[in-house]
Amino acid sequence: MASVSDAELKQMSQEERVTALGMRTEQLTGKSLHIEFDPDAEERFTYPWAPEVDFNKRTEIDTVDMTTTEVNGRIRELMAEGYGTIVLQNPRGKHSLGVGILSKLNLIIEGSTGYFGVGLIDGPNIRINGRVGWSCGENMMSGTVMIEKNAGSTFGAAIRGGDLVCRGSVGSRTGIDMKGGTIIVGGDTGALSGFMMQRGRMVVCGNAGKNLGDSMYDGTIYVGGDIKSCGVDAVEAELTNLDKAWLTRKLTQYGLMPEKGVDHFTKIVAGKQLWNYDNLEPSEKKLIL
């Protein structure tokens, strides 16, 4: 790859940058990137471009007369100034608050948020002292989100990593299409929770609605209460000592540990009857791969 300085790149258009960085000339070598770890890599804990923030440097934003775009832009400005703890006052159910935060931060929202709150995040710790609308934490990559009251449907849709916690109850289709991470519900969850789940863990301390884990491909669902019904290919599995240790640690961490412990939890996994790709004829399969 050509060696180009950051100063030179800043003078270029996007088209010129892409070419200068070799992204149009390097040949793909198939499915493998053939990249190897460097065992002597420097110890770093944040992305090279992440702002240096200090959790002890705290400020507040009164969002009452601001649009969502203005609030989210202001959060980024404050992070660039080194603020590591930001409190949002008067959110008044605004949609899409706190989305796209890609580095460490303590964000506290004093009130309730609307649809698609704190989605697409990678690293921050967020506490919402209120309720949240649909799809809170959608496509979350890492970090922690704690909701003190109830949440709407599709809570944690397509989550890929991190801990998404609701102390209260949540609507239906919780963790739909989740591909990693942990969703914890202190109360009950609605129908079709874990629908098409592919990976990750869901913990429901209360009851689960009908069709739990419907069409799940992988991942684990732990339920402390009653399960109305399991969906297609969701089957019960043995709760191991490692499961119990992990559940105890996680629930204690968020103050949701039941008084009677975790031995009563039911563990649901994929029966893997839906892994039908191997039903293809061998020649068809090779053609696809």
């Binding site: 996007q14 890599a41 770093r44 990559m141 990693g180």
Partner: protein, 137 residues
């Protein structure tokens, strides 16, 4: 592995896919010429008694009480070599053969997490150049 009703083969040994990269055991796998399913247990939760000092420090820096998203990172295999899947570049990153692998999956997973963090946070990561080329704000 939990949920073993599928037509793949059981993972019986931590070195199974190092000694036999193809891993064709069941009749169906032999027929189609490919191992069915993951080559490691994606549902394995971490054993926190085996956490490394680097990972403890990472948790502290990020303000987390546990491994957070790294709970989903495991050591897998690519073409007979130990490797870790990096979601940020959608590909496998191989473990150098200078690193000696422990004899159990939990310790291997901790090494995988440590190496992945160091790689993702370095300027070597493809995301660094992608960001330089395509960043809009």
């Amino acid at each position: 592995m939990a949920g073993t009703q599928y037509r793949g083969s059981e993972i019986v040994d931590v070195d199974q896919f190092l000694n036999d990269a193809d891993g064709l055991v069941s009749e169906r796998e032999k027929e189609i010429g490919q191992h069915i399913g993951y080559r490691y247990d994606v549902n394995l939760v971490p054993d926190y008694n085996r956490i490394t000092p680097f990972l403890s420090k990472y948790m502290e820096v990020m303000g987390w009480d546990d491994l957070n998203w790294l709970e989903d990172v495991h050591m897998g295999y690519e073409e007979g070599a130990p490797a870790v899947f990096d979601r940020n570049n959608n590909g496998w990153v191989r473990i150098p053969n200078t690193i000696e692998l422990p004899d159990n999956q939990q310790d291997r997973d901790m090494i995988a997490r440590e190496l992945l963090i160091k790689f993702q946070m370095s300027d070597r990561h493809p995301l660094s150049d992608l960001r330089k080329a395509y960043m809009k704000f």
